[in-house]
C-alpha cells in the first residue's frame, strides 16, 4: 500500500526524487490522482507555508519543497488533464521591466504550480507589452508582477496601464509582490492584490480565482 504520509514528508523535506517515486507507486496501486493531491500534496505544502510563516523554514527550504512538489505533480498532471480536471487557474508571471532579479518570482511560480495553477513564466526584465501579449494568447486570469528594486516599481504601474490600454485589464486580476512592494503601493497603482511573501501569494491567487 502506497504510503501517503511518506509522500507528504518527502515533499515537506524537499526530497524530489523520493516524492516522484512515491507518487508513481501510489498511482500504480490505483490511487486516484485527486486523492493523492488532497491527502498528501496539499497538506504538505500547507505545512511548508506554516513553517515559513513561523520562520522555521526559509527561502532554501521553500525552494526545495516546491521542487519536490513539482516532481510529485509531474506524473499526476497528464492524468488530471485526461480526466478533464481543470487547473486552479492560469497565471502569467514575470519580473517587471528593468529588474533582473528572479529568485522571488521563481519561488512564487513554483509554489503556484505546486498549488495546482498553470503558470506561464515570462522571466525577468519583462516589457509591459509582453505581459499584454501573454494575457491575450493564454487567456490567463491572473497576472503576477514582481519587482525587487524600488527604482523598478514604477514598471508595475506602467504594466497595469498597458493592460488597460490593450483592453484586457478587466479580464485579469493583477497581483504584485517583491521585497520593497507594499499594500499601500499596490493600492496606489490599482493592483487587485498584494502579498507579503511567496506562500501568501498562492492563497491570494486562490482567493482571486474564485468566481465572484
Amino acid at each position: 500500500m502506497a504510503d501517503l504520509r511518506t509522500l507528504h514528508d518527502a515533499i515537506l523535506e524537499g526530497n524530489a526524487k523520493q516524492a516522484a517515486a512515491l507518487t508513481q507507486e501510489a498511482l500504480a496501486e490505483g490511487l486516484a490522482p485527486l486523492d493523492i493531491i488532497q491527502q498528501a500534496m496539499v497538506p504538505a505544502m500547507d505545512e511548508v507555508g506554516r513553517r515559513f510563516e513561523c520562520e522555521e523554514y526559509f527561502v532554501p527550504e521553500l525552494l526545495l519543497s516546491a521542487r519536490a512538489m513539482k516532481a510529485a505533480l509531474e506524473p499526476v498532471r497528464p492524468l488530471l488533464v485526461a480526466s478533464g480536471i481543470q487547473p486552479a487557474g492560469r497565471v502569467v508571471i514575470g519580473t517587471v521591466k528593468g529588474d533582473l532579479h528572479d529568485i522571488g518570482k521563481n519561488l512564487v511560480a513554483a509554489l503556484l504550480e505546486g498549488g495546482g495553477f498553470e503558470v506561464i513564466d515570462l522571466g525577468a526584465d519583462v516589457p509591459a507589452q509582453k505581459f499584454v501579449e501573454a494575457v491575450q494568447s493564454s487567456g490567463a486570469g491572473i497576472v503576477a508582477l514582481s519587482a525587487l528594486l524600488t527604482v523598478t516599481m514604477p514598471s508595475m504601474k506602467s504594466t497595469i496601464e498597458a493592460l488597460d490600454h490593450a483592453g484586457v485589464r478587466s479580464r485579469v486580476k493583477v497581483i504584485v509582490g517583491g521585497a520593497p512592494v507594499t499594500q499601500q503601493f499596490a493600492d496606489q497603482i490599482g493592483a487587485d492584490g498584494y502579498s507579503e511573501n511567496a506562500t501568501a501569494a498562492v492563497a491570494l491567487a486562490r482567493r482571486l480565482s474564485q468566481p465572484a
Binding site: G14, A16, K17, E55, F58, V59, P60, E61, L63, L64, R67, G98, L100, H101, D102, I103, G104, N106, A124, D125, L148, L149, T150, V151, M153, P154, K157, A179, P180, T182, F185, Q188, N197
Partner: protein, 243 residues
Amino acid sequence: MRFELISCEVLFREMCDSVARSQHQINVRFLSKGLHDLGGSGMRRQLQQHIDDSPDCDAILLGYALCGNGLHGLEARRTPLVMPRAHDCIALLMGSRDAHAAYFESNPGTYFRSTGWLERGKTLQQLSSGAQMGSESLPALIERYGEDNGRYLYEEFTRYRQHYQQLTYIETGLEPNRSFEEQARTEAGERGWRFSKTTGSLGLFRQLVNGDWPEADFLIVPPGSRAVASYDHQVIRCEGDTP
C-alpha cells in the same frame, strides 16, 4: 552645529573623507551592510532604534538611500532626520539619482562595485528573507542540503548572474591605488562580464555632512513626522504627525 551620522558601512571611505572635511562636529556610527538582509521593515526597525538611541544634536544624518524601503516609515522623534533622495547607494556614489537613472537606462544588466562593496559588501544576498542563506558557495550548500538539493539551490541562487552582462566599478577618487579597480576587473573576468569604469562623485556625501540640503536632493523630516516612499521622482517624502 552638531550632527549624528548613521551610515551604512558600504559608504565607509566616502563618509569618513567627507566628515573629516566638514566644518561641523559629527558623531559617526557605521552599521552593518547586513541590515539590508532583514528586508524593508526589519531594516527600518533597527535604524529607528539607532535613531532613538542618538544623543541630542541638531540633526541626525542618514547615510542611506531608500534601500528597498528600509527607510520607509522612519520617524523623527526630537531631532530632524536628513536623508538623500535616492533609491540606492549606487545613486549616492554616482552623485545623483538622475546620473544613476541615465546609467541604468543605457547600461542594462550592470552590476556595480565601489571600494565599500569590494571590501565590505561582496556577500550581500539577493533576497531579504535569506536569513538562513548564509553562504552561496556550492560546497557549503552541498554540505548543508546534500548533493542534489545543494546543487539545485546553487543554480537557483546564482541564476541571476546570467542576466548581468557588465560589472561597473565606480571610482570616486578616494582610492589609495589601483587595487580596487583591479579587484573589480578580476571579478568581472571570473563571472564572464564586461568590465567598465565610471567616475563617481562625492557631492552628495559632502552636502549631507556640510548641512547643504537643497530640497531637490535631500529630505528633511521634522520632529513628529516620518519618511515614506513616494514612488515618484522625489523618491521619499514626509508624512503626517506622529504621536
